[in-house]
Symmetry: C2
Subunit: 229 residues, 2 copies
């Protein structure tokens, strides 16, 4: 019987590639997706379609409302999503406080509940928006925390946090995904999509994605895909 | 202006005492309560009443559904709540996978969102059910994780996780609370309450609570309180 793995899945380019990488390892996949009140809810539909295309044992959707305190352009309509700025040094306003810590904690809960020891997350710290919760130091600290705050510590086993994209350039992530058969027309990365679901073309996430496809001499297959919720 | 603090509040004896301890430090309190599909939902009403009695700036209630994967007697009707067993060595079935990690992650998110650096949690590792996520090693690992996975690391400040009850006996917790004016008739600890909200008297949580009140020669003022939802 295949080992189980939990894959955090947003429906974006990175997490869908991460799902394909986990699938390649022959895990029985439990995809875990989050509806947290994000501006780009359309990514959830992309997560569903990508999970179905790649093949998962189960697609879990957890709902909670981070709009309760906002504090991010992704969870508050009072803050605008800024334009792509490759030179920006500070953490941008699209950063959602403690988001990956929340996501990974639910991932550990699901993993412990179903008997999985591997948790995949598509974080990347090269072509990224500068979010602290995407960096390897945080991931390692979370691994230690999860292994002390669950039955792992009493039962003498360990969670592994798998980050196959951590040190890849965005264009390398796309090349990896293409080699694994990922259909990028089913993915959504834009922080601030148009009403018909097409990407805005101007935010950090669009900027990083567009630059990577351009480096590869390709047109992003998601550019003209329309999804309304 | 008072510094802000986030207090994780379940409505139980420990977390309400912890709230009173935070209040004593003159923080502006943001109470954070969770409706996660727990068997003892009545505790949420007790959290509300206790927050109102002690005085908080805001009571935040986050909802999500841990019944999706169950795996605990508190989040599944397929598992029975066991009787109190003071000699039990293993982690009991009432343990909810990664619960405090999830709660603390939301706590860090709220704290970062509102500009608080202090997060209170009423964990205790003396008179407790043996849950791994109540022990000091986990709390310290979480603190490190939170300080690497949020803007704290970029902005050069630190979260503190405050655990004023960590090394107190249950009876000492009650004495502390009484000295701070806590009304324990407003608290609820039982894992498996009767339909009218009274405690079952038999679960671990009732066992620990009853033993502590008995040690103090007191009758638990919550024994006859009825609340229906």
């Amino acid at each position: 019987m295949a080992e189980k793995a939990v894959v955090l899945l947003s429906g974006g380019l990175d997490s869908v590639t991460c799902l394909a990488a986990a699938k390649k390892e022959n895990f029985e996949i439990h995809a875990l997706c989050f509806d947290y009140g994000q501006r780009h809810q359309i990514e959830i539909e992309c997560a569903r379609r990508s999970a179905a295309a790649i093949g998962v044992e189960k697609f879990h959707l957890i709902r909670f409302d981070l709009r309760m305190w906002g504090a991010s352009a992704l969870t508050s309509d009072d803050l605008d999503v800024p334009e792509f700025d490759a030179e920006r040094k500070e953490v941008p306003v699209t950063y959602v406080p403690a988001r990956n810590m929340i996501f990974l904690s639910f991932g550990a809960a699901l993993a412990e509940g179903i008997g999985a020891k591997d948790i995949y997350i598509g974080v990347n710290s090269l072509d990224y928006s500068g979010y602290p919760d995407c960096r390897p130091g945080f991931i390692d600290a979370f691994r230690k925390c999860a292994n002390l705050g669950t039955k792992a510590v009493d039962e003498n086993w360990e969670f592994q946090i798998r980050t196959p994209l951590q040190y890849l350039k965005k264009s390398e992530i796309i090349q990896l995904g293409l080699s694994l058969g990922v259909d990028y027309s089913l993915t959504h990365s834009c922080y601030n999509p148009l009403p018909d679901g097409r990407p805005c073309g101007h935010c950090d996430s669009c900027g990083l994605r567009n630059r990577a496809f351009a480096e590869l001499g390709m047109t992003d297959p998601a550019l003209e895909r329309k999804i309304t919720l």
